[in-house]
């Protein structure tokens, strides 16, 4: 703002080129970004799938068996395979980003990122082993 600026009735037009709706196809890193963002859809799908499983188990053995049969339907299977790819992609990108999001200091020194990411991967492994043990063992 200088003294030369004056009120104008018409706002000057911004010089902003219109971006293509498909800007994320232009570069591999953009595509990776949008795929990572899209992973949330498959996270939501899993919640629906989990709740259907919980409902089936609550209704008794017959509906649980029906759910297991339905989970083998080709469309459901393909959807779950695609979802699995996306949720793993989400997990890996999430844990790799953790060092940037968490700043952990020990004795006044910042902990190296590798350790923070490593701790996240360790927690992932423990959570997976515990879940498998609860479901398959015992």
């Amino acid at each position: 703002m200088n003294d030369g600026s004056a009120y104008t009735a018409y706002h000057p037009r911004w010089s902003r080129p219109r971006m293509s709706t498909y800007w994320w196809l232009q570069r591999r890193s953009y595509l990776r970004f949008i795929l990572r963002e899209l992973s949330s859809i498959f996270v939501a799908w899993f919640v629906v799938y989990l709740l259907l499983l919980v409902r089936a188990v609550s209704h008794g053995d017959a509906s649980y068996q029906q759910f297991l049969g339905w989970s083998g339907h080709p469309i459901v299977l393909v959807l779950n395979l695609v979802s699995f790819f996306f949720v793993v992609f989400h997990a890996v990108t999430w844990f790799n980003l953790a060092p940037q999001a968490m700043v952990v200091s020990v004795a006044g020194k910042r902990l190296p990122g590798v350790l923070i990411a490593g701790a996240n991967y360790l927690a992932w492994a423990l959570a997976s082993v515990l879940s498998s043990w609860l479901l398959l063992g015992g």
Binding site: E37, V43, A44, V47, L50, V57, Y64, F84, L134
Partner: protein, 118 residues
């Protein structure tokens, strides 16, 4: 005078917590129930075992947190995916209502279904 508080930090907190819990638990659960059991790589747990597991309060609490936070993670991230990917910022209100409204409805459904496990 205190400034009016924005709900945005709370939404980011739910997004982060959901992203973390989803990353820790969903891959293994989806692998087992979505891939390994249907394809016959592993035999699924029996009904009795699964019911006993789901009956435990700790399991229910964990699954509720997983559903609730994952849904809010989805709502927040998907909202921004629509903004950035499709550049439809002018539908701001509608998108927010659909995303967060969907997450609230889904969380209530999760609470109800987990609550009435026999």
């Amino acid at each position: 005078m205190a400034k009016p508080r924005s709900i945005e930090p709370l939404l980011w907190l739910l997004f982060s917590a959901g992203g973390m819990l989803a990353a820790l638990l969903i891959p293994i659960l989806l692998f087992l129930f979505g891939v390994a059991f249907p394809l016959g790589w592993l035999s699924p747990p029996g009904h009795q075992h699964l019911l006993a597991l789901l009956h435990h309060p700790l399991t229910r609490a964990t699954l509720f947190l997983l559903c609730w936070l994952s849904l809010f993670h989805w709502a927040h991230r998907f909202r921004y995916t629509l903004y950035d990917g499709l550049q439809i910022k002018h539908l701001n209100e509608l998108i927010s209502v659909v995303c967060y409204g969907g997450a609230i409805v889904g969380s209530l459904a999760a609470a109800y279904l987990l609550w009435r496990i026999p």
